[in-house]
Point group: C2
Chain length 389, copies 2
Amino acid sequence: MGFSFEILRRSADGARRGRLSTPHGAVETPAFFFCGTGGAVKGISVEQLSGCGTQGVLANTYHLHLRPGEEIVASLGGLHAMMGWSGPLFTDSGGFQIFSLGHGGVAQEIKCRRTANGSKTLLRIGEDGALFRSYVDGSLHTLTPESSIRIQKLLGADVILPLDECTPYHVNRDYTARSMERSHRWELRSLAEFQKNSDGTQALYGIVQGGVHEDLRKISCDFVVGNNFFGQAIGGSLGSDREEMEQVVAMVGRFLHPSRPTHLLGIGGVRDIFHGVRQGVDSFDCVHPTRMARHGGALLPGSLSDGTGHINLHSGRFARDREPIDRSCDCYACRTASRAYLHHLLRSRETLGGQFVTIHNVRFMNRLMEQIREAIETNSLERLEIAYR
Amino acid sequence: MGFSFEILRRSADGARRGRLSTPHGAVETPAFFFCGTGGAVKGISVEQLSGCGTQGVLANTYHLHLRPGEEIVASLGGLHAMMGWSGPLFTDSGGFQIFSLGHGGVAQEIKCRRTANGSKTLLRIGEDGALFRSYVDGSLHTLTPESSIRIQKLLGADVILPLDECTPYHVNRDYTARSMERSHRWELRSLAEFQKNSDGTQALYGIVQGGVHEDLRKISCDFVVGNNFFGQAIGGSLGSDREEMEQVVAMVGRFLHPSRPTHLLGIGGVRDIFHGVRQGVDSFDCVHPTRMARHGGALLPGSLSDGTGHINLHSGRFARDREPIDRSCDCYACRTASRAYLHHLLRSRETLGGQFVTIHNVRFMNRLMEQIREAIETNSLERLEIAYR
């Protein structure tokens, strides 16, 4: 019933096939976690989520703290009971949303929710923590490393994360270095708070910062590896484009603890997942599959989607298309609905349209991860990646 | 595989327990049909709908004609195949929406959809049919008795309805009488069009008009009974309040064909259903349960809801309520979610909130009808009605 991480197999290209055990069951890795935002994976029930073979959900402390509040979640038996989700569950620290909103957008989409008017809600950041304004009702809130851990203890997810500053790409190296040092001090405070009265039902991952700078990433990895975190997450800016991101993930992969579970925060593109897996990443989370679904974007291997990785079912070209999204997919949407029907539902603003496409995208990601795990076992990751191109 | 209607039992108070057989299966009556609007019961999948014990759906020809259009529905294999719904299906004629929109609201909520700006879309009504403007794109459309039947043949529902003018309450007796006579002529044209190349896969109900006037209702019932309609539907204005509606339904019940299946259009309140059942009504449809659900209204017996028949989960008084909507309900929502969680989802504008409440309301209506059927068998309808008060 406790936590463990077992590496079952390492492939020649750096990928690893593992098993992350939690009090709410095991996650076969590499795995993808769906964004559970404020206690719901947008648009679908946990029954549908399970039906798609989902292993885990990552919910946002920021949203849950503001609404309904961690006290109410705790009074309902914790986040698992409130949502009716009995499987593994992560929460983030709340930092990502505060800092993303606070730093004001710059082509940076906010995870799970955009600001209504683009106004900055981060009011002050200091050694103690961050002062910000609620997007729900404008009230003032302070988030500190200690309060984030206390909130996450009340939420009761299996894996929790320490508060860090998510430094954006456009700040300079000096700011990134100072911010990283502060995040390290925050992580130590988080660890101390976490260890108080810890009953073993939760595990804390450390977060690696350092932006795109190799020397900083090395310092940050050494910090995380040198402290008693159960797992390690790759955070902070991963650069401005895919090439830079791949460089950052690759360098961090080399410096990380070789036997701790490794999570890459906020990344969910198919190509990025293949790359991450080769750098030893064990789990991923991203709003991409579920957010795209709500806008009518159905995930498909690149070859079936003009290389974009999805088709936009809003497009008039699907108005008479009798095919399902993907003939080879076994999801409820593909067994039930034609592209023309989905197009019609989306055009008619029926929420059932988003529900169907979300089911497909969730199943797509879970199938992708199933196939990746199998490919690691059979040393055929490259062949699989080509099939997804 | 054809159509038949069998009355299995008549109770002393006028209620009847029957079985309506269609090419897509049998409906145990009295039964409730959920509004399938433009090819979707709003917010839930047909899998969820079936899981709640649903027997039938009534979709709107008006919406489907405007979007995606009957040709596309037919090319997808008809409405059953498009929706993935393999059970009994009704379509209305399109008249209700045209005339409701056309007569301009007057405290009359439009079925399944309100107009964006309250503007009138009915441009002309004459002997041939009605000219109206599409709410989707402003284009002009003519609906005639013949075209309504042709559209409904392409849609392919099991039970279809003839075009009639839905006379509003505020018009005088003279208008109602002339409108009724025209509707009768339209119904004869509909019957003629229906019988052309009829392959027995669809059945046509006649519609009784006549407003609140007993003599007109008698004339209209005689007309419908005297023609070769498979079933009979009660349409038109049912008055301005419950008392008047009960009078109208009761008088019509006396004049209708004693062995044809009888449908009461657009009525779905619990008390109204009990009353209708006693007048010999076999089936009902209404947007009420699903529309109310989207606005957070969960159906409950009156005694559990301050007599209103529902609780509004948006209300702050449910913010900490750990109970399910109804402890005695076996639906997925009541097995999974607390009122506090549903309140949170609705407040957060998560579509999952509406999905949950819709599942509950659908199950509530289906349980109600199951219990009504059982009560007819055991002559205990009155006791059941008291339990729902």
